[in-house]
Symmetry: none
Subunit: 295 residues, 2 copies
């Protein structure tokens, strides 16, 4: 079983999202786990799972559909992006490995580059160079900046595909461990506060290593929008507590959090263990886990 | 998934307990979680779980076996009892409800009354009258007292089955929520503080309805020892937060918590949902739950 969580640069037009969803679910053996759209971000995230080859086929069909229906020359939203199918990560679930996901990413990238003439970059565990491991590096300047440089800047040369950008932009494909997309709304509409808190908590500017964060306004409310890239070492509850402290220092507080997509069950159990002050809690004490082990 | 924790009036004869255990585990799909016998009480408790109909079948087989092997006219022990299979509670686990357990209790009661000619009483959430909710009420006078009154006292008339008591006695069947045994150690050795906090949090003295609490000294440390009887309405995290506040008012704080026995997975998920400020978290967003539903 492998999970795929492609991000598309469309969060407003239902007919486009319907078509992308159809291209995924029409592949036999695919379980569509989740779909989340954000009109402000103008972005949608699909989460699906299945056997490796089936998941790769569904990802290809979705990228092909998005490339036909999304014109990056006219696409705008609050979320940084370089392509119609912006990011396509593969994540190992029970019974598969990160190495298998890397191989799958490379195969899919080659196919997209060849059959759809879309420039492809590999990131995270599938990256071809260390500096390409990180999404912000690959997305700098966004679609417009990349379009201006891809033809002549060797730093921007794709891993596969043409060195020129069409209306579908470029696609970033990779393999990684589970990521938690976690947003925290604040009791303020002051964008500067959200940005300052994002700076304080994200690893790249001195905060927590396993956190990427942006401050933004969503529906008139300040939001710290985060990706937690390594929940075992940088757990969700520590991030929430740090955001709460920083918010307090700015004279505000957390209104509520939201999860985008799915979360591994252990991330929630870890949070309960920490916040209920239960350091000795063992897996075998969780009733349903005991039962599943016995059955 | 449903849990069943039947209590049998036998804690001394290993061959009888073996036969009762066999009658439970010989039902396919049953996970036997625990078995505990007490020779002084002359009583044993089995804990098992599985799908609803499987659990009901195992409970029936165990009651049938106990009725054949335990003669209440000759049974004595320190624990009050009215039957060979004395009490049979059903408890909802993840994916099931208390209402389902009430229905299961009623079905099992009818089957036991009809096929085994044993008088059946329903208690807790399955009770037919408010006064029958509590076990001590149903067990007053024990087997001997009930035998003398069941035929003519309307207060002792069974909910199902004959109004006369055979060698197997009567069986009390019910449905209740899981009970969580949860202790909180304080950074003090002052027993009075633990007792004051226990008074503040327990329902019987004005605190939280679903909490029973005692203050005690354990290994020289003050401890608030609690049973949480209804974690869905009185969740663990609210209890911990209230104890933390009360501890602060007494100039101390929580050292750590400990769990005695098992906890339902949902109690931990509920705690994470509350403490991570994630009111919108849905079950389907938990990766492994989604996958288990698909597999």
């Amino acid at each position: 079983m492998i999970e795929c969580i492609p991000n598309f640069s469309e969060g407003r037009r239902p007919e486009v999202l319907h078509a992308i969803g159809q291209s995924i679910t029409s592949v036999a053996g695919i379980a569509l786990l989740d779909q989340h759209s954000d009109a402000d971000h103008n972005r949608s995230v699909f989460t699906f799972a299945g056997e490796a080859h089936v998941v790769a086929e569904a990802a290809y069909q979705a990228v092909r559909q998005a490339a036909q229906l999304i014109d990056m020359r006219m696409q705008h939203g609050q979320h940084p992006r370089i392509g119609a199918a912006d990011v396509v990560p593969f994540v190992p679930l029970a019974g598969s490995t990160l190495a298998e996901c890397v191989a799958l990413a490379h195969q899919l990238g080659q196919r997209i580059a060849t059959e759809l003439a879309i420039p492809v970059y590999f990131y995270e565990a599938a990256a071809s160079r260390p500096e390409r491991r990180e999404l912000p590096y690959l997305r700098r300047g966004e679609y417009e900046g990349l379009a201006a440089r891809i033809a002549h800047d060797p730093d921007r040369a794709p891993d596969y595909g043409p060195s020129q950008l069409g209306s579908a932009g470029a696609t970033i494909i990779g393999a990684r461990n589970p990521l938690i997309a976690f947003n925290i709304f604040l009791h303020t509409s002051d964008l500067r506060v959200a940005k300052a808190i994002a700076r304080a908590v994200r690893g790249s500017s001195g905060g927590l290593r396993g956190v990427r964060a942006l401050g933004m306004l969503v529906g008139g409310r300040a939001q710290v929008s985060m990706n937690l890239t390594d929940y075992r070492h940088t757990p969700v509850h520590r991030v929430v507590e740090l955001v709460a402290r920083e918010a307090q220092a700015h004279g505000t507080s957390i209104a509520e959090s939201e999860l985008v997509g799915l979360i591994p069950e252990d991330a929630l159990i870890d949070a309960a263990r920490a916040l209920l002050r239960l350091p000795g809690l063992r897996d075998e004490q969780i009733l349903e886990r005991q039962i599943r082990m016995l059955l």
